[in-house]
């Protein structure tokens, strides 16, 4: 067992724990924190089903963003959809046998790598070209884009230029899952790709990537517009709520 294998094995155990534990903790905090008042951005749905539909539109077609700015929407949507395809495609390295639908999306998943880069390039360009966006950009925003672009680029390089031993890689990850460690191929590009992915997993719960769970908990989007019909109390509005004068 090489040192590289041990380091990467430990790295991925750590990264997975931080990602899962960190996001679970954040979701727990969001779920536990009360929303004392009704604040949906109206017009808002008046039923639970309506709210599910509203959130579904936000997370699939980015409805609010579409209303807002077509360029950000275009690049943002292309990036996220491509990322989804790429992630799903990668399931083939963690499952044996490979599920049929994962096999079916394989060709799209490969091209989606380019989609990610195009989307990221567009979003990154805005951070330089649009003075308003340049003004609000922090160093961390550039680094986040660099990280994601690095992941996409290193992946594409392995696909098209410097292939790695993909069978051995799959054995490594299946080994991690089954706690029967297998050697990791030591191609440079693979090590870069995996290190960047692990970094992304680690910073996920402490960064703006929390927008992913956050969108489900946003009260302006997930509250039902029914304050007159149903009395809402939570947090400080629930204190002494039953004891009005009169």
């Amino acid at each position: 067992m090489s040192a590289v294998t041990v380091i990467y094995a430990l790295l991925f155990y750590t990264a997975t724990s931080i990602l899962v534990g960190g996001v679970a903790y954040k979701v727990f905090v969001y779920a536990r924190t009360p929303q004392p008042l009704k604040i949906p951005t109206t017009p808002a749905p008046t039923t639970r089903t309506g709210v599910v539909w509203r959130i579904l539109k936000e997370i699939t077609v980015f409805e609010s963003l579409f209303k807002s700015n077509k360029w950000i929407w275009l690049f943002g949507w292309v990036f996220h959809f491509a990322l989804l395809l790429v992630l799903l495609r990668h399931l083939r390295y963690f499952t044996e046998p490979v599920w049929t639908w994962v096999a079916l999306i394989q060709p799209f998943g490969i091209y989606a790598g380019f989609g990610m880069l195009i989307g990221l390039a567009g979003l990154w360009a805005r951070r330089f070209l649009v003075d308003r966006v340049r003004y609000i950009t922090n160093l961390s925003d550039h680094l986040m884009l660099a990280l994601l672009a690095g992941i996409a680029a290193s992946g594409l390089i392995m696909k098209y230029l410097t292939h790695t031993d993909i069978v051995a890689l799959k054995a490594f990850f299946l080994g991690l899952i089954l706690f029967e460690w297998q050697p990791l191929p030591t191609d440079f590009m693979l090590l870069v790709h995996l290190a960047l992915v692990a970094t992304l997993m680690i910073i996920f719960p402490i960064s703006k990537l929390l927008h992913a769970p956050g969108v489900f908990f946003s009260p302006t989007r997930n509250q039902i517009d029914n304050p007159r019909e149903r009395r809402h109390v939570a947090g400080w509005t629930a204190e002494n709520a039953g004891k009005q004068t009169g």
């Binding site: 009704k38 808002a44 936000e58 807002s68 160093l139 946003s218 947090g235 009005q244």
Partner: protein
């Protein structure tokens, strides 16, 4: 007041998004509340010793108690979607008036003290210590947000800068730095019952005068009852309706509607204010305390329904918060929603044919409608989403022949704030108010040029006062702004149907 020295923005053919010009509004600050104003609303009189620590603790407490703040402070990705949505940015070019940048004034402090990244890598994520400079910046720019929620419509995560600016003002109040205008007014509501500090006898006098005016005008005895026990409806309306122009025409309109429908109604001298400025400063105890007067008045007068007059943020508080804060309303008639908006009442009566409206009486007017921000994006009317846009327009169209909407992206949920909401309707912020009105003035100019619009109807006391003040800066006549129920008042035929 020194004479305002600033340039009114020019109205061009189309609304253009300006380039960033840093710090152009850094000098804009409202008057600071005096110790007596602060104490009347339960806050320390002046900036206390050790305020830095206290502010940070207060911020943490607020975030722990609000899912909105938790999610909003974590989720922003700085995509830029909101950067061209705020009327104050569009009117001033100051980048700190972009919603994301305004949020970051507070987010940077939150990050520094409450997040891993901000504690250990402050430079990387733009985290800042709570210093006097930061506090000054908060005071300036959190009083350049009218809490209109336009940004929250366009944010992919629904981040609402209004929530953030309310929290920032709450923190500032808690350490002794309050805004004079809002806090003085809230104190008056607690003491006297309305924003103007108009005591009961003066209110009765005013209303008697109105009865005489209407009698003279129409020959009909339209009543303006106060504290009438056993009336069916308690009307809660902004106190500006009692004598400000053009608000008062709206109040006359409500009275004529009730008169003609044969509905007994009353005002309350104890709860003579619909507006609840406590929302602007994010103060939960003041919010509840001011609202509670209305519950008490309703019980005391033994009414069956509560109807709210034309007021934007008041309607938000009434529609969205009253049931939470001062409900349940099990002592009122369950056949009516609580509360009801006056436009809902009039609309229902029109639908039922209970009112006769002569549209020709308004033929001198070509009318457009300004959707008030808090009605549009923080409330509803009727039983369908978007009723808050449909119902007031239906009432207007039943009262006038000539109506034209402004450009689609400036009305409905995309409406531009008048520029004076959220506790900013004060002369010490006149430059901000004039500049912030620019996007609405731009849209108005378009319909004035195209259709000869000469009357902009609104259903908010703040909008009406703000436009009365700023219309002349843009070379429009100040009496172009009017109440929706002012139009109803002109059109309604009294005594022709019973």
């Amino acid at each position: 007041m020194a004479k305002a020295e600033f340039l009114t923005p020019e109205l061009t053919e189309y609304l253009t998004v300006p380039h960033v010009r840093a710090e152009t509004m850094a000098h804009s600050r409202p008057f600071v509340a005096k110790p007596e104003h602060q104490e009347s609303v339960g806050y320390p009189g002046e900036l206390m010793d050790g305020w830095e620590e206290k502010a940070v603790l207060k911020l943490g407490e607020l975030v722990r108690g609000s899912r909105a703040l938790q999610v909003f402070l974590d989720s922003c990705v700085k995509c830029g979607a909101c950067t061209d949505k705020c009327h104050y940015y569009l009117g001033t070019s100051d980048p700190k008036n972009m919603p994301v940048a305004r949020q970051d004034l507070l987010r940077s402090v939150y990050r520094r003290y409450y997040t891993f990244a901000g504690k250990y890598f402050p430079k990387l994520v733009g985290a800042r210590d709570m210093t006097k400079d930061v506090l000054d910046e908060w005071y300036s720019y959190f009083h350049q947000c009218s809490q209109c929620r336009r940004c929250s419509v366009y944010c992919p995560y629904g981040i609402d800068t209004a929530e953030i600016s309310m929290a920032a003002r709450d923190v500032m109040d808690a350490v002794g730095l309050g805004q004079k205008y809002s806090n003085e007014i809230i104190g008056k509501v607690h003491k006297i019952g309305n924003n103007l500090g108009l005591p009961g006898p003066a209110l009765k006098d005013t209303l008697e005068g109105l009865e005489e005016d209407v009698k003279e005008d129409t020959g009909v005895d339209v009543k303006f009852p106060v504290d009438e026990k056993g009336a069916e409806v308690l009307v809660i309306t902004p106190s500006a309706d009692f004598f400000a122009e053009p608000h008062i025409d709206g109040l006359i309109g409500y009275a004529k509607v009730f008169h003609q429908a044969g509905i007994s109604w009353t005002l309350s001298s104890y709860a003579s204010e619909a507006a609840n400025f406590s929302m602007f400063i994010g103060s939960r105890h003041n919010l509840k305390k001011a609202a509670m007067r209305i519950r008490e008045a309703a019980i005391d007068l033994g009414v069956k329904r509560i109807v709210v007059g034309e007021c934007g943020h008041a309607w938000r508080v009434a529609y969205s918060f009253w049931n939470t804060l001062i409900g349940p309303f099990d002592f009122l008639d369950p056949n009516y929603p609580v509360p009801q908006h006056i436009c809902e009442v009039t609309y229902d009566l029109i639908q039922r044919g209970a009112l006769t409206l002569d549209k020709e009486a308004n033929d001198d007017k070509v009318v457009t409608f300004h959707d008030s921000c808090n009605v549009s994006r923080a409330s509803r009317m009727g039983n369908m989403p978007g009723g808050q846009f449909i119902i007031p327009r239906a009432v207007i169209k039943a009262s006038v022949n000539k109506f034209h909407d402004m450009a689609p992206d400036t009305i409905y949920e995309g409406t531009f704030c008048c520029g004076g909401g959220g506790g900013l309707l004060t002369d010490d912020l006149i430059e901000l108010r004039v500049k912030g009105a620019m996007p609405r003035m731009q849209a108005l100019k378009q319909v004035v040029d195209e259709y000869g619009v000469n009357y902009m109807a609104a259903i908010c006391a703040i909008c009406k006062s703000q436009f009365t003040k700023v219309l002349p800066y843009y070379k429009f006549p100040m009496d172009m702004i009017g109440s929706v129920h002012g139009l109803v008042s002109t059109a309604i035929q009294l005594g022709t149907k019973q």
